[in-house]
């Protein structure tokens, strides 16, 4: 897989492109223009930056107020702080008041690696899924990031986007079409399906490619949108493959895996199924990729999980 750039950089450059023709596009930052790679934006469009300092509750509330006047507001802050410190403002001032803020959780999941759990966001899918009127998108690669940010700019509802800061592989064919709420099938296969969200999608694809060498045909789906949830694609995959593995950079509780499990149960579908994510324990110390590896969110681990479900041995 050809390596692209960090989704964070793709996000920042997409915003600059959008701001060229949209003076109502604002970014609201909480001392995070550096970590958000937003200095070039701030230099090019200083009038379109609102700095609030380290104050996430205030950041979200102000973003909601701005959005209520018709501004297209990207509220940017590390996902860990934005979706925990600012949660009540997200719930009330954004979602409940229906102010279409674009909440951007940067350095999401375990992107901050060894900085520890204070800086991890492994709860955000779970808590935000339980809040009405808030769409949730976690792009996997540069293409999905660019398209998601472009779509978010004119999205009529509140939306949360999250991604990390490491370079991501290119996953999609050039003619791919991106729509919020519609999963992207990267490759087709009928033995096992990987449904992944966000930055682990590339790792699921790598596992699929390794399994192909063993004759295991894999379907790989990038479920970039957690809400609205693409139930149809999940059901179609479950009905046409023999096992299903979900992969996410999030607690195994309350995220993509449980969303898929509920969908399958409610439609009476039973198949070998495994949720791969961060388990319910004190997260191991390490870089983002070391943490992925530790919990089997990698080529070897995911291939092994799939084989176990299919009860096949490596070739």
């Amino acid at each position: 897989m050809e390596l692209g750039r960090p989704n964070l950089e793709e996000f920042a450059s997409t915003l600059i492109d959008l701001a060229q023709t949209d003076r109502d596009l604002l970014i609201v930052t909480g001392d995070s223009r550096g970590s958000g790679k937003l200095w070039p934006f701030a230099k090019a469009y200083p009038q379109q930056v609102v700095e609030v300092g380290i104050a996430e509750q205030n950041l979200v509330g102000i973003a909601a107020g701005l959005a209520s006047t018709g501004k297209r507001v990207f509220a940017v802050s590390p996902a860990c702080f934005l979706t925990a410190r600012g949660l009540e403002q997200i719930k009330n001032d954004v979602a409940y008041s229906d102010n279409p803020v674009k909440l951007v959780g940067i350095s999401a999941g375990v992107s901050y690696g060894a900085l520890g759990s204070t800086h991890h966001s492994l709860h955000d899918y779970a808590v935000l899924r339980a809040i009405n009127n808030l769409d949730i998108v976690a792009p996997a690669d540069n293409f999905e990031t660019r398209e998601a940010i472009k779509a978010a700019a004119t999205h009529p509802r509140p939306i949360y986007l999250r991604f990390g800061k490491k370079p991501m592989p290119h996953l999609h064919a050039p003619d791919t079409t991106f729509n919020i709420g519609k999963a992207l099938t990267i490759q087709d296969g009928n033995d096992v399906t990987f449904i992944a969200i966000g930055e682990p999608v590339g790792r699921a694809l790598a596992a699929a490619q390794r399994l192909e060498a063993d004759g295991v045909r894999c379907r790989v789906i990038s479920m970039h949108t957690l809400r609205p949830f693409d139930t149809e694609t999940v059901l179609h995959a479950a009905r046409n493959t023999s096992a299903l593995v979900t992969v996410e950079e999030h607690s195994v509780y309350g995220g993509l895996g449980e969303a898929c499990a509920a969908t399958l149960m409610e439609h009476g579908i039973q198949l070998p199924f495994r949720i791969v994510g961060i388990p319910d324990e004190y997260t191991v110390t390490g870089s983002q990729f070391e943490i992925f590896d530790h919990y089997g969110i990698n080529e070897t681990g995911l291939a092994q999980t799939a084989r176990q479900l299919l009860q096949v041995e490596p070739a």
Binding site: A64, D93, S97
Partner: protein, 277 residues
């Protein structure tokens, strides 16, 4: 509107507030009675907002951070013609849009509030938008004194001062009581005015139940150019009914039928006195 007319309205509003709280069996009596004069003056004598211009991007905005005093807000909005007064009869009833905190489903309401410490950041965002677009509107927000312990108020205050939002007018309903007891016993707020001054506001105080004083003060905003304005409106919780005034228990006590009769009687007499005077 003349001061005399405003006084008449305040009494009428108090009667409506008590009646609808009694009718639906729930509500925040003390706080609604303490802030209703402020709402009266804002909507009838200060703010450029009406049902006719509510879609106008240049209208003045009002954000009620102390959302629990919604009965006062509904009462004033109904009187201003934002919706038929009959809507108030459905307060808190099954499937009604008139819930126990402000919601945008009610014409005239700008933002959903209710959780405390949310109004000021919202107001700052709206005021900032006016500055960015050079629009003339002002943003008025009403905070309860009890909610000033929420840190988000102070976060937003720093931002308001930093961006020199002199189109932002923060009014504190300083009735000195919260649900547990006196604010100074719960967690002391004083010296409140100097705290706000230190955060960058131009601060004034007035009798928050005196419509004339309120009108004169609120017509003189911004209090200083380049600074957000802050008015400490010294009010009496439960103002206007002798046995409700300054009683902690009346924070959300619902008047019984007898209490309502007695209260309406007092307000009738106040109306008579006003006519005579």
């Amino acid at each position: 509107m003349t001061e005399h007319e405003l006084k008449q309205k305040s009494i009428a509003y108090r009667k409506t507030i008590l009646t609808i709280i009694n009718q639906c069996g729930a509500g925040h009596t003390g706080g609604s009675l303490s802030c209703v004069d402020i709402l009266n003056v804002l909507y009838n004598a200060v703010m450029n907002v009406s049902p006719a211009n509510f879609d106008d991007p240049n209208r003045d905005r009002y954000i009620q951070s102390k959302g629990h005093s919604v009965e006062a807000l509904y009462t004033v909005l109904a009187d201003r013609g934002f919706f038929p007064t009959s809507g108030l009869d459905t307060l808190n009833t099954y499937q009604s849009h008139f819930i126990g905190h402000p919601t945008r489903k009610i014409p005239g309401i700008e933002q959903n509030t209710g959780a405390l410490g949310h109004g000021l950041p919202l107001a700052v965002g709206i005021a900032l938008s006016a500055k960015l677009d050079e629009r003339p509107y002002r943003v008025f927000t009403l905070l309860g004194d009890g909610e000033l312990t929420e840190g988000s108020n102070w976060e937003a205050s720093m931002t308001a001062a930093h961006y020199q939002l002199d189109n932002l007018i923060v009014i504190v309903d300083r009735n000195t009581l919260q649900i547990t007891g006196p604010t100074e016993d719960v967690v002391a707020l004083e010296p409140l005015a100097s705290k706000f001054e230190a955060f960058g506001y131009a601060v004034r105080s007035c009798d928050g139940n005196d419509v004339g004083e309120l009108q004169r003060t609120l017509s003189d905003v911004p209090f200083a150019p380049g600074k957000p304005s802050l008015l400490v409106a010294n009010t009496v919780k439960g103002k206007g009914v002798s046995f409700i005034e300054n009683q902690v228990g009346w924070h959300h006590h619902v008047p019984t039928a007898d209490e309502l009769t007695q209260a309406l009687g007092e307000l009738d007499r106040a109306q008579q006195l006003l006519k005579v005077g």
